[in-house]
Every structure is written in structure tokens, then in C-alpha cells.
């Protein structure tokens, strides 16, 4: 129990906590059940990826950046590949653009459904959680069929994509889309009509339009507050110039609105995927990109499932980048959530935290251990066992 001078009670959430699927630390000062202050401490899954890119070549970096996040791995690789192609002045073939977009949209469906399940679980609605995750398997299996992997699809190479889409796969995807569309409509209805669940989501964690705009919220979090910020619409990249998407917004700004926006985005993705499959262009899958990228710097932005993903890439003319800066969508959304936590009930905090769809491994990217032997922070299995025996003697 920590009590400070004003007799305030601090409730920690994390680093290990059932509400957080990844480690992160939040401290809430509470007065009874009402939150009066909030701070964050990140970095528990920092892996040094930004630094690591500087010592690897451009091709290797695609994969290391893809592993920033498991859920939105494709968009990371895509943002990087897109930036490098811009630097190298390479135009990728239309079929590659279409397939990239296709996988990105499938991934968006997968991410949004994952989030909806987790958020339902935070609200104690386990049945909804189980159902949503069961149906998410459909899209996971489609991705596995297309790329051979359920996460970290590795579909991008510099200059295009690795995998083609064949006719039988197109049929499979269409079948899957029909199922997903039906189920998403059903879930949309549930989250907007179920009384007990609305008690946990309606008018909770409201962020108004002005706050969202100034605090720099991005993605569905911003759109649920009525801020039209969607890179796919603002700066069409990949195949979006040919097949534009609609930016889905809601004005309520509460948790319910975030559910509604995400579920509607799933439906929009389904529509887009069908359209892309109808008009899949013929042609090559990839073009050659030089191993040495010409000097220059570029900003590459794509819309990840959680919002705008920002890449700053600088090349010094060699086969390794000079600087790769990644700003993931979760980081600006944290700022907005921590600023808005005050005044809410403690019981609502997990749901509000989860409401932005946080991805901790996305915003943590540092610390690398280079020398295992001389570092007492790294323990071997044998050492750990020995320590355990000593401890309990």
C-alpha cells in the first residue's frame, strides 16, 4: 500500500497484469473508485530495433521491422518497403500493389476483431470474446493460406511481394469474406444493443473532437471522436488510389463509438477486398531494387489498423540505412488516453486503456544485449535453477 501525503491511494496496473496482454506499467492515483491521476512507464519489451536497422542491410531490415509488432506486421514491412522504393525511385508493378493492399486489409480485419474480443473480455463479456475470436480464425486461415504464416506474413520484399494470389485462393477469400461480413454485422448489432455491455461502454472514456485533434490521436481512436484522419484517404498509397476507401467516423467519442468504428471498418475492408479481387491486375510480382539505396531522406506513412504509422528513413548511399525512425500509432494515442483518464472510475480503466487498442511492442523498440557472458543480467537456465535451489534452501 502506498499512501502519500494527501492520503491518496495508488493502484498500479502492470507491468504484469491480466488486463494487459503485454507488459506496460500504469499508475493510477485513486480517490475511492475515482481516478485522479495517471502516469505511464513503457519499455518492458524494448528490443533496440531502430538501432539494429543501422547495422543491417536494407533487405534484412524489412524483416526486423516486420517484427516490431505481431498483429500489424505487414503494414510495418509495407511502410518501410514503400519508403525504400521511393528513395530508390522504383515503381512497383500494379499486381504487387494490389496484393500488398489485399493483405493489409485482411490484416486490418484480423486486428480489429482481435481488439473487439479483448475489449469484450475486459468488460467481462467472455462469451462475446470467445465468439469473436472463433470467427477471427477465418481471416487468420486466409492469411495463412495466402502467405504460409498466421502472423509475420513476410509477404513484402523490396520492390514488390513474394506471393501471388491464385484463382482457387480468390474463391476461398470470397467465401471467408461472406462469413466475416455476416458475423461482423451481428457483432455490430450486439455491441450497440446489449444493455449490460452498453453499461460498460456508452459514455465511458469520452474524448471530444477538439481534444482528439490537438492531442494528436490517430486511427480509429481519432475517428471515433469525429476527427477524419485516415492516411488511406488523405494520402492514398499502394492500391488505394485505384480503389478508394471511405473514412468511417462517429461523433460520440466514447468506447461504444470505438467499437462501432472498428466493426464498420471491418465491413468496409470486406467491401474493399471484394473489389480488389474483382479487379486484380495482371503482371509481375516484383521489380529489382538496387542493393545500395541512393542518398536521401523520405517520410513514409501508411494506415495501420491502429492508426497512422510514420516512418522516417534516411539513406547515406550505402547498403545500410543511416536512420530509421518508427512512430507507431499507439504512442500518440497513449498521450491522449493518459490525459483523459482523470475523473473516470477505476473499474473502467482497463477498458479505457484497451479502448485505443494499445500495442506495447509497437511503441517499445530498444536495448540490445550484445555480450551474454559478461553481463549479469543474462542468466542461463542452469544459473536460474541454481538460484532457485539456493533461494528455497
Amino acid at each position: 500500500m502506498t499512501t502519500n501525503k494527501t492520503n491518496k491511494f495508488t493502484v498500479p496496473i502492470g507491468p504484469q497484469h491480466p488486463a494487459l496482454k503485454e507488459p506496460g506499467h500504469f499508475e493510477f492515483t485513486v480517490d475511492g473508485e475515482i481516478v485522479t491521476g495517471a502516469t505511464a512507464r513503457l519499455g518492458y519489451v524494448h528490443r533496440g530495433i531502430e538501432k539494429a536497422t543501422e547495422s543491417r542491410n536494407w533487405i534484412q531490415d524489412v524483416y526486423i521491422l516486420e517484427r516490431i509488432c505481431g498483429i500489424c506486421s505487414h503494414v510495418h514491412a509495407m511502410a518501410f518497403a514503400q519508403g525504400v522504393e521511393m528513395l530508390a525511385n522504383v515503381e512497383i508493378p500494379p499486381r504487387a500493389r494490389a496484393i500488398r493492399t489485399l493483405i493489409a486489409e485482411l490484416e486490418r480485419i484480423h486486428s480489429h476483431m482481435l481488439w473487439a474480443g479483448v475489449a469484450a473480455h475486459e468488460g467481462g463479456f467472455d462469451t462475446l470474446f470467445m465468439y469473436i475470436w472463433r470467427d477471427r480464425e477465418t481471416v487468420m486461415e486466409l492469411l495463412e493460406m495466402l502467405t504460409g504464416n498466421r502472423v509475420n506474413y513476410s509477404a513484402n520484399v523490396l520492390g514488390g511481394v513474394k506471393f501471388d494470389v491464385q484463382q482457387d485462393q480468390i474463391d476461398e477469400i470470397r467465401k471467408g469474406m461472406d462469413k466475416l461480413e455476416e458475423r461482423s454485422r451481428y457483432y455490430l448489432e450486439i455491441v450497440t444493443t446489449d444493455e449490460t455491455f452498453l453499461g460498460r461502454t456508452r459514455s465511458i472514456g469520452i474524448m471530444d473532437k477538439k481534444d482528439a485533434a490537438v492531442l494528436g490521436a490517430v486511427g480509429p481512436t481519432a475517428r471515433a471522436s469525429g476527427v477524419e484522419r485516415d492516411v488511406r484517404v488523405d494520402v492514398p498509397y499502394a492500391y488505394y488510389p485505384d480503389f478508394p476507401t471511405v473514412s468511417i467516423t462517429d461523433n460520440a467519442g466514447d468506447l461504444e463509438a470505438r467499437f462501432v468504428v472498428r466493426m464498420k471498418e471491418v465491413l468496409e475492408s470486406v467491401r474493399l477486398i471484394r473489389e480488389i479481387l474483382d479487379h486484380l491486375p495482371e503482371g509481375d510480382l516484383a521489380v529489382r531494387v538496387p542493393r545500395r539505396i541512393p542518398e536521401g531522406q523520405v517520410i513514409s506513412r501508411v494506415e495501420a489498423p491502429r492508426g497512422e504509422l510514420f516512418y522516417y528513413i534516411e539513406s547515406n548511399g550505402t547498403d545500410t540505412p543511416e536512420r530509421v525512425k518508427v512512430r507507431t500509432p499507439t504512442l500518440p494515442n497513449w498521450g491522449s488516453v493518459l490525459a483523459l483518464a482523470v475523473g473516470h472510475k477505476l473499474a473502467d480503466m482497463p477498458m479505457i486503456l484497451v479502448g485505443i487498442d494499445p500495442c506495447f511492442s509497437c511503441n517499445d523498440r530498444m536495448v540490445h544485449i550484445t555480450n551474454n557472458k559478461n553481463n549479469d543480467q543474462v542468466w542461463s537456465w542452469e544459473q536460474l535453477r541454481q538460484y532457485g535451489i539456493e533461494y528455497y534452501k
Binding site: G124, T127, A347, M349
Partner: protein
């Protein structure tokens, strides 16, 4: 009807061994049903037993800054309360081992002992999650207790007796009280869910907010006792509600059918709702639950 000798009653049937086993069996049914409602497979039949044995075999860690005596004995008290209440209810359709006029009140208090012990156990530790959990447990106790009692009062007034066995006989001879007092039945059933902290009333142990609530610091034996105590409470609660509202319990077959029927309804209710916040729970009980129970009582009194 057969009467069982006291010592046997305490150790083997209906107290002791029988109750432990049937408690764990009912827990399994509950978990299995919820799993099937959620389109999962669910645990195998021996899972609750295996959990209990594993927990009993494990080291019990007494955290720092707690009253060690309280920490050790609270689970025992809680479980003793639940076991003792078994002596007064028509378990498995047999006549209760002990019976006196007014035993209904005693059973209700014995059942609350478990919850009180939980609350005390939570506030005994310095863990923040335990403390918040304990507060919520006790808050919830004050919210469902009155409506639950009022709901069980209906049949008692109808029988004009406070003796469980007499109410049981009365229920057997007459039309199911469920038909005449549907509101009372609903309040009693949902009150039972509140008592057992089942969803949607699981705010006191909401894992995504406060880990495991009052039980966060418990491990090994203490945790096992609390879990088994809750299983026993589940059986006794089901017995009470079905004896009162579902036409009494005359023989083991009726007992099994009626309590399991109730359990199916409870499992269904568990999987249908999102968790209520503690303020919503309190609001629901006092604004709606208590009011409904009172109306039911008035109806009973007038007619």
C-alpha cells in the same frame, strides 16, 4: 424419509465427504456448460478435483505484514460455515440432519459467513488488489443480501414457518411456488449468483481489473479451501432455491433433476452478460432487486 445419525452426518453425509464431492461435481457441470455455451470444449470431469488436490499439495505462502493466524484460519471458518449449513437443508432429498424452528435464518447467516471471511481475508493483506476486492466483496454482500432474504421469505410466509424442512414439505404438497411467486424465484436465483460472485456479478474478483480480488494473496491450502467452500455454497444455494420454489425435494432423483435444471439456467445467465461495475451492481439490487422482492412479499401478504 430416513434420518441420519449426527456423527455420520457431519463427516460423511450430508456434510463432509459427500458435500465436497458433489460440490466439485457441480462446479464441473457449471464450467462445462459455460464452455459449451461459448462453443468451447471445457474441462474434463476430474478437473476441479485435480485443481483442489494440486492446490492442497502446494506450499502456502503467507505474505508479509498480514496477521498470520487470521490468514490461516479464515478459509477454515468460511468453509466450516458452509459445511455447517448443510446440516439444516434437505440435501439429496433426505430430511435435514438437524432441524428446529427458525433454522432458515441460521442457514442464511452461515452462508454469509463465507463472504464475510472472504472480505476479511482480503482486508487482512496489504495487497492493493486484495483491498479493492475486499471492499467490493463486502459492498456486494450488502446489496444482494436483503433482496435474497426477502425472496426466501415469500415461501416462508406462505408456509407460516421458519423451518426449512417444513417449507420443504409444504412445497411438496402444494403447487410449485415458482408459479405463484415468479418474481421471488427470479430474485432468489439471481441473488444466489451474486452470492457466489458469478458473472455478471463478478466485479469483486474481476481478473482484468483487480487480478483475483480478495484472494490475490492466497495460495495453496487457503485458496483450495475457499474454492471448495464456494462449491459447497453453490450446492446448498441450489438446494434451498429448488426446495422452496420448485416443489420441494422429496427424493435424490428430484434433487438431482431440479438442482441441475437450475444450474443450466444459471450457466446460461452467466454467459449472457457483461460484467457489471460494482456501482451498477449495487444500483441494480437496491433499485430493482429489493423493490421487486418487496412487491412480491406484499402480494404474498395480501393474498
Amino acid at each position: 424419509m430416513i434420518k441420519v445419525t449426527p456423527l455420520l452426518a457431519l463427516l460423511i453425509f450430508p456434510g463432509g465427504l459427500f458435500l465436497l464431492n458433489i460440490g466439485m461435481f457441480y462446479e464441473w457441470i457449471d464450467r462445462k456448460l459455460v464452455a459449451r455455451f461459448q462453443n468451447r470444449i471445457g474441462p474434463r470431469w476430474f478437473q476441479p478435483l485435480a485443481d483442489t488436490i494440486k492446490l492442497l499439495a502446494k506450499e502456502e505462502i503467507i505474505p508479509e505484514k498480514v496477521h498470520a493466524g487470521l490468514f490461516t484460519f479464515l478459509p477454515v471458518f468460511g468453509m466450516a460455515g458452509a459445511l455447517a449449513s448443510a446440516l439444516y437443508v434437505p440435501l439429496a432429498g433426505f430430511a435435514p440432519s438437524y432441524s428446529f424452528s427458525g433454522d432458515l435464518i441460521v442457514v442464511l447467516y452461515l452462508l454469509s459467513m463465507m463472504t464475510l471471511c472472504l472480505g476479511l481475508a482480503g482486508s487482512n493483506t496489504v495487497n492493493r488488489f486484495s483491498l479493492v476486492g475486499a471492499t467490493r466483496t463486502l459492498t456486494q454482500l450488502f446489496s444482494y443480501e436483503a433482496p435474497f432474504m426477502l425472496a426466501l421469505l415469500g415461501p416462508a410466509i406462505l408456509t407460516q414457518s421458519w423451518q426449512i424442512s417444513e417449507i420443504n414439505f409444504f412445497a411438496q404438497d402444494n403447487i410449485w411456488i415458482l408459479v405463484t411467486q415468479p418474481i421471488g424465484f427470479l430474485v432468489a436465483l439471481i441473488g444466489l449468483m451474486g452470492k457466489l460472485e458469478l458473472p455478471p456479478f463478478d466485479a469483486p474478483e474481476a481478473e482484468t481489473e483487480i487480478v483475483s480480488g480478495a484472494l490475490t494473496e492466497y495460495s495453496g491450502r487457503g485458496l483450495a479451501l475457499f474454492h471448495v467452500g464456494k462449491d459447497i455454497e453453490l450446492v446448498i444455494g441450489l438446494t434451498l432455491v429448488s426446495a422452496f420454489y420448485l416443489g420441494g425435494l422429496a427424493n435424490p432423483l428430484e434433487f438431482v433433476l431440479k438442482t441441475l435444471g437450475l444450474l443450466v439456467v444459471m450457466a446460461l445467465l452467466q454467459s449472457l452478460f457483461a460484467r457489471l461495475r460494482i456501482d451498477q451492481t449495487v444500483g441494480l439490487w437496491w433499485r430493482l432487486g429489493a423493490l421487486l422482492a418487496l412487491i412480491q412479499l406484499l402480494v404474498v401478504l395480501v393474498f
